[in-house]
C-alpha cells in the first residue's frame, strides 16, 4: 500500500482563506519534508519537520510522530501559493535522505 497518503487531493480557495493539508504515513519516519512544486515542475523545500511544530512565514507544520501524521497550514493564502504541495518521509537512517513522496495536494487560489 501507499506509504505516504495526502489529503485532500485538491483544494480550491479564495485569496485570503486558510488551507490545511494533511499527510499520513504508514512507517516510522526519521525525517519529514514538505515541498512545493510549481506549475512548471520545480521542487522547493518548504519545511523539514520530523516532529513538533515549525513555522516559516505563513506556513505552519505540525507533525505528531507517534500518530504518523503531519499537517501543513497555509494562512492568508495568495494566488502565488497555487501549485502542488508534497509530503515526503524518510524511513531510513541514511544521511542522503531516501525520500518517499505522497501524491500531493493540488492547491488553487483564486483572486
Amino acid at each position: 500500500g501507499q506509504q505516504v497518503q495526502q489529503s485532500p487531493a485538491s483544494l480550491v480557495l479564495q485569496e485570503g482563506e486558510n488551507a490545511e493539508l494533511q499527510c499520513n504515513f504508514s512507517s516510522t519516519a526519521t525525517q519529514l519534508q514538505w515541498f512545493y512544486q510549481s506549475p512548471g515542475g520545480s521542487l522547493v523545500s518548504l519545511l523539514s519537520n520530523p516532529s513538533g511544530t515549525k513555522h516559516t512565514g505563513r506556513l505552519t507544520s505540525t507533525t505528531v510522530t507517534k500518530e504518523r501524521r503531519s499537517s501543513l497550514h497555509i494562512s492568508s493564502s495568495q494566488t502565488t501559493d497555487s501549485g502542488t504541495y508534497l509530503c515526503a518521509i524518510d524511513i531510513t537512517a541514511q544521511v542522503v535522505g531516501q525520500l518517499t513522496f505522497g501524491r500531493g495536494t493540488r492547491l488553487q487560489v483564486y483572486a
Binding site: L43, V44, S45, V96, G97, Q98, T100, R103
Partner: protein, 117 residues
C-alpha cells in the same frame, strides 16, 4: 539562490536514443545525490542513491544498465537515460543534502523534463 543546478531544463529525444542530464551542487559539496523521476500523473519515485566512492544503489524498478550514473566528485553528478521510450517521459530531479543543515533534508534542482517522441 539555487543550491542545486540541473541541466538541461527540458529536452526531447527520439524513441530509442539516449539522453544525459547533469546535476551540479552550487557552493557546497554533495557527498550523496539522490535521483528521482516524476512520471506523468504520478508522484516522485527514487531511481538511485549515489555516494562518492561507493557503489550506486538502484531501486527495484531501475537498473544501472538503463540509468547509468556518474558521480566523479563532490559537486557533480550525471545520469543517462539509455534507449529512452515513452514510459521514460517525466521530470527527473536530483537532490543533495546541504552540509550543516538538519540531517536528511534534501534540496532539489529544478529538474530536467524529458519528452520522448
Amino acid at each position: 539562490g539555487a543550491l542545486v543546478y540541473q541541466y538541461p531544463r527540458r529536452t526531447i529525444c527520439k524513441s530509442g536514443t539516449s539522453m544525459r542530464m547533469e546535476c551540479q551542487a552550487v557552493g557546497f559539496q554533495a557527498t550523496s545525490v539522490a535521483w528521482y523521476r516524476q512520471s506523468p500523473q504520478k508522484t516522485f519515485e527514487l531511481i538511485a542513491l549515489s555516494t562518492v566512492n561507493s557503489a550506486i544503489k538502484y531501486e527495484q524498478n531501475f537498473t544501472q544498465e538503463k540509468f547509468p550514473i556518474s558521480h566523479p566528485n563532490l559537486s557533480f553528478s550525471s545520469m543517462t537515460v539509455l534507449n529512452a521510450y515513452l514510459e521514460d517521459r517525466g521530470l527527473y530531479l536530483c537532490g543533495a543534502r546541504l552540509p550543516g543543515k538538519s540531517q536528511n533534508t534534501l534540496y532539489f534542482g529544478a529538474g530536467t523534463r524529458l519528452s520522448v517522441l
